[in-house]
């Protein structure tokens, strides 16, 4: 029976859903529940990772170090993982203290064409004897050949796995099959897939990824995550079990954990709102959605127009400042019409 490694970024991707306002009590409660369910890896932090708390992408309620401390105290068997995006996070300011705080695994991410900015961060994690994964973001934007080339760079830097992120929720199962498939065929390290649910494809895409050779999958409690959310971990575990894969996760307890999350973390359950569909079609980073909603209200614009304009400009994660620029431009255009 093939084993699938499940990573749970509820406390990282879910941070986008609440404007990065996750509290100490919430972290403690969910970490306890996830740990009890036997989820192998729990990812914690600001939605854009360590060192990302900013006006650009949103300020965190808690400092990075505080979040890690609480998570560490409440995880006994699950590994504690963080997400770092070079350009936001630096080795000295962010990575070093995080490893000192007891982090076990690090995902070093880059936009899907920029893998070479991860070299130093991945090397640093490896030198410290911790688990290092490479993440390629917004992977719907480029061809499978380009993804293979970039993934190979990460592998050469020492990544112990490469995860393709469908950061905009734009994939269909056929895309997953092609892109995950080519990596699984050619890489010497495990391949992972991180889904978003904008087009209601998160579970289907995760299944397609496993069938194409992925052995790492991401899921969050009830799909708690940016935009329309991620793959619901409790459903993912059930589906994988039905398909005959083992995850090492206790199904009853992961169902319980997702109830804990719903009660403790979520004001509203993740759902596919009309603008999430548009965001997925436009291929815009899911983390933009809260900002777009706010700016659209402020400038009295249709958020859908903003999404399509952002899609046209091929914005990448970290370019949230362009939302305001696009809004100002659209409202000026409206005035002149």
């Amino acid at each position: 029976m093939k084993n699938i490694l499940i990573t749970d970024p509820t406390l990282r991707d879910g941070s986008h859903a609440v404007g990065h306002q996750i509290s100490a009590a919430q972290i403690a409660a969910y970490c306890k529940a996830a740990d009890a369910a036997g989820i192998p890896i729990v990812e914690v932090g600001h939605g854009n990772g360590m060192g990302a708390s900013s006006l650009q992408v949103g300020l965190s309620l808690l400092e990075d170090g505080e979040m890690l401390k609480i998570a560490r105290e409440n995880l006994t068997t699950s590994k504690l993982e963080i997400f770092v995006l070079p350009g936001f996070a630096t080795i000295n300011k962010d990575l070093k203290p995080a490893l000192e705080a007891g982090v076990d695994a690090v995902r070093v991410a880059a936009h899907c064409t920029e893998a070479d900015i991860t070299e130093r961060h991945i090397s640093f994690v490896r030198e410290k004897g911790k688990l290092a994964y490479g993440c390629l973001m917004m992977t719907h934007m480029v061809s499978k050949e380009t993804l293979l080339e970039e993934a190979r760079k990460m592998e050469s830097y020492g990544a112990q796995g490469v995860i393709l992120m469908d950061s905009a929720g734009a994939y269909l199962p056929q895309d997953v099959k092609e892109k995950v498939g080519i990596l699984a065929e050619h890489l010497n390290v495990p391949v992972g897939f991180h889904a978003h649910n904008n087009l209601s494809m998160a579970v289907a895409n995760s299944v397609a990824a496993v069938e194409a050779g992925a052995s790492i999958l991401d899921g969050t409690a009830k799909g708690f995550g940016a935009g329309a959310g991620n793959t619901p971990i409790e459903i993912l575990v059930a589906v994988l079990e039905k398909m005959g894969y083992s995850t090492g996760i206790d199904l009853y307890k992961v169902l319980d954990a997702s109830d804990v999350a719903e009660k403790e973390l979520m004001k509203v359950l993740p759902s596919i709102k009309p603008i999430s569909v548009i965001s997925g079609l436009a291929g815009v980073f899911a983390g933009f959605s809260k900002h777009v909603e706010r700016v659209a209200t402020e400038y009295k614009l249709d958020p859908r127009d903003i999404f399509f304009e952002l899609g046209k400009r091929k914005v990448v994660a970290g370019q949230e400042d362009l939302i305001v620029e696009v809004a100002i431009q659209l409202s000026q255009k409206r005035k002149t019409q």
């Binding site: 630096t90 920029e114 914005v315 400042d321």
Partner: protein, 295 residues
């Protein structure tokens, strides 16, 4: 040779060095007496030869052998080599403009602290994002002495970021944060760098966010307009995309830098602005030395 021109050399025949050369050839105040690298066959060297500029492949030795020929040297090699070059240039009495992240000398942002830099024999040009964002942060800091926080985000075209830029993103962030803090007086600063691979290549864009308890938007706008005009004197492609705007409890200002397209393509505003700043600094040394008054 015009005796009123400052004799300068360029160390480093890469993209930055070659673009500097083309800018110097246009300058009324600078005369490039030697273009120095390590490989006579590099495209930068070939370009220099085609422009009739004297070249050498003997690096710092070429300068040390004939120090009388040089009053100022632009060092566009690397931080590692500038550490070696800096004491040699100092001993020879040659002013160094450091284009690398070595930070041997003081930070120089011409629109902000040009006059005080002229007393130093080694100045550092900070970073591309620092050259674009610091003037805005400084202008805001002049209006409000108690700025809580300033954050600067620069997005550059992926193609304009070479292997050195990519390997040194951490140093970029640290240096830029330091410059913004020193010149704005903000209590806390943060810098972010984003690479965007979109085709056609995007121009460099920099956003400055400021947290100020009671921002005087009229005064901030006047100060920012002033500094932008000052910037445009030495960086023609520098423009304001969003004037200081109060939005979501923060002041947001956005600038764009389009390059002159000398040796580098125009989208590489990030490389252009740091070179423009270096030229402006060298020209100021020249004007002071020869007592030239601008009119």
């Amino acid at each position: 040779m015009d005796s009123k021109k400052l004799k300068v050399a360029i160390l480093g025949s890469g993209f930055i060095g070659t673009d500097l050369l083309i800018k110097i050839l246009r300058s009324k105040y600078l005369d490039c007496t030697l273009f120095v690298g390590r490989n006579l066959q590099s495209s930068g060297m070939s370009k220099a030869v085609s422009l009739g500029v004297a070249v050498s492949d003997r690096s710092i030795e070429a300068i040390a052998e004939n120090p009388k020929n040089f009053e100022l040297v632009f060092d566009a090699t690397s931080a590692h080599f500038h550490q070696i070059h800096a004491p040699i240039l100092k001993k020879l009495g040659i002013i160094a403009i450091d284009m690398t992240p070595a930070q041997v000398g003081g930070m120089c942002i011409p629109a902000v602290n040009l006059k005080e830099c002229l007393d130093k024999d080694n100045v550092n040009m900070v970073t591309c994002g620092g050259q674009a964002s610091t003037p805005i942060a400084y202008a805001i800091g002049q209006v409000h002495k108690d700025v809580d926080y300033i954050e600067v985000i620069s997005t550059i075209a992926s193609r304009s970021a070479g292997p050195a830029t990519r390997a040194n993103m951490d140093e970029y962030i640290e240096t830029t944060e330091k410059a913004v803090k020193v010149f704005s007086g903000a209590k806390k600063t943060k810098a972010v760098l984003v690479l965007n691979p979109a085709q056609p290549c995007i121009n460099m864009q920099t956003t400055v966010f400021a947290k100020i308890s009671k921002p005087d938007m009229v005064a901030i706008n006047i100060a920012v307009d002033d500094i932008v005009k000052k910037m445009q004197k030495y960086v023609p492609g520098y423009s304001l995309v969003i004037s200081p705007t109060y939005e979501n409890n923060r002041v947001i200002t956005m600038v764009r830098v389009q390059g002159a397209g000398d040796y580098l393509p125009s989208y590489a505003g990030n490389l252009d602005i740091i070179n423009c700043a270096a030229i402006a600094t060298a020209e100021e040394y020249a004007k002071r030395k020869y007592g030239i008054q601008e009119y």
